[in-house]
Symmetry: none
DNA sequence: TCGTCACTGTCATTTTGATGTCATCTAGGT
DNA sequence: ACCTAGATGACATCAAAATGACAGTGACGA
């Protein structure tokens, strides 16, 4: 999942970031709400994890602005033990769950998993578009009788394309959402990624799963698949 | 089986642990419920054996939290003779059986066997995936006309893979579940184990029973087997 | 009691795979 | 025809996994 972690104390932020990343998530970790807003305006997240005691905006302010931006991802608050009133206010303001600090990493991971299943992006164990099927557990693409296993990034790209099969994804959007904040590539890594994904899919037989929309970006190829919904 | 033994008195815990281990089980033995929770959140057990008189959390509290974590393994209480009310409360709270202290080791072993058969993991004397069959009594793998006997650890790994043939098992998960708490290997023992298991299986003819999912872990190879459910 | 062998963990090294970067080529669009 | 976005090739780098060599341990039989 794509997570946005907002926590001002680096000694708490870094361990959390590492643990979440090891659990297989993509984590953008920022120290304050302003930076966070800059990020959520330009990319999409599946879950926000927010320390409620922030310099600058309060957690409530953050919640409100995030929801005002029309974003629907769940928000998980990290609160101190004795701030029940704050917690309640936070839940009212649009947060979805909370965790008492100091954070139990295992519990956090469990919550992330639980919330992740609730996310609108989660469609079960498979994504299906026409004859094409993406197995989210095994990172495998199935087409007719054949299957191919993807690398991690290739899988993430494929997943994005398949979640919105008719959408044209801009290159900048893809670069922002496939790489973590601060580690965006400085070259044509996206071209490379698309190229490699196409190569890996080509043995499946169907010529062009991924179409280039010149000057705009990429999309799943509607004619490359037997898919009624693509039209 | 993978057992979690919670007992604060070392003079009782150690003999039980040894007896259970000699009976062929993998035993994580801990002195208190908090430690136990840390363990069950990160690994899976087939059975919990819990002294009902614990410092800190009561047995009931332990039960409740274990079930809240979504875990389904049976719980076996160890209670004093005169605490019938407690026992009943424990059964209400989600425990499955009880034993009166002082513990009769032979009876404990019998109960463990009995509960083990009730466990959702137990499928009879054999596990079968496609043409592959694992005999749980003799630690033997059968494929077509041939068979190989496995070492103890190789067997445990094979068993885990075959119980959930489509699942990708993370390296950390495997290390946590194949080794007892506190005796986890500090090297690439898991790589070694997989390597040796593959070598042992290779004479069976089918090329790649165990597939590596780079960066994620291992899984049973769906295409290496004649398995309808894999497609 | 000693030697052998199977099992298993550790270290060191090699191999494989994923991914980013540079340079060059190609095709689409005007 | 020209210009630019994108595709492709060659390659570097880094991490993950496989492999080889070996040592400790414990079981077993001579």
């Amino acid at each position: 999942m794509r997570l946005l972690l907002v926590e001002d104390d680096p000694t708490q932020r870094l361990p959390l970031q590492i643990a979440l990343r090891q659990a297989g998530h993509m984590v953008d970790a920022v120290p304050d709400a302003e930076t966070a807003e800059g990020l959520w305006l330009s990319k999409d997240y599946d879950l926000l994890i927010v320390d409620w005691m922030l310099p600058g905006w309060s957690g409530i302010e953050l919640c409100r602005r995030y929801r005002q931006a029309g974003k629907g991802a769940p928000i998980l608050m990290l609160t101190a033990k004795d701030t029940t009133a704050d917690t309640v206010a936070g839940l009212d303001a649009g947060a979805d769950d909370y965790l008492i600090k100091p954070v139990d990493v295992l519990e956090l991971l469990a919550r992330v998993r639980a919330l992740g299943r609730r996310s609108p992006h989660w469609l079960g164990d498979c994504l299906t578009v026409g004859d094409l099927r993406l197995d989210l557990m095994t990172l495998t693409v199935h087409y007719r009788d054949q299957q191919v296993m993807l690398a991690w990034q290739e899988f993430r790209l494929m997943e994005m394309l398949m979640r919105q099969p008719q959408r044209v994804f801009g290159r900048e959007y893809l670069e922002a959402n496939l790489w973590e904040w601060g580690s965006e590539p400085e070259s044509n890594a996206l071209s490379r990624l698309v190229y490699r994904l196409r190569q890996r899919l080509s043995p499946l037989g169907c010529g062009e799963f991924i179409a280039t929309v010149h000057g705009l970006g990429y999309r799943l190829n509607p004619s490359g698949l037997t898919d009624a919904s693509a039209g």
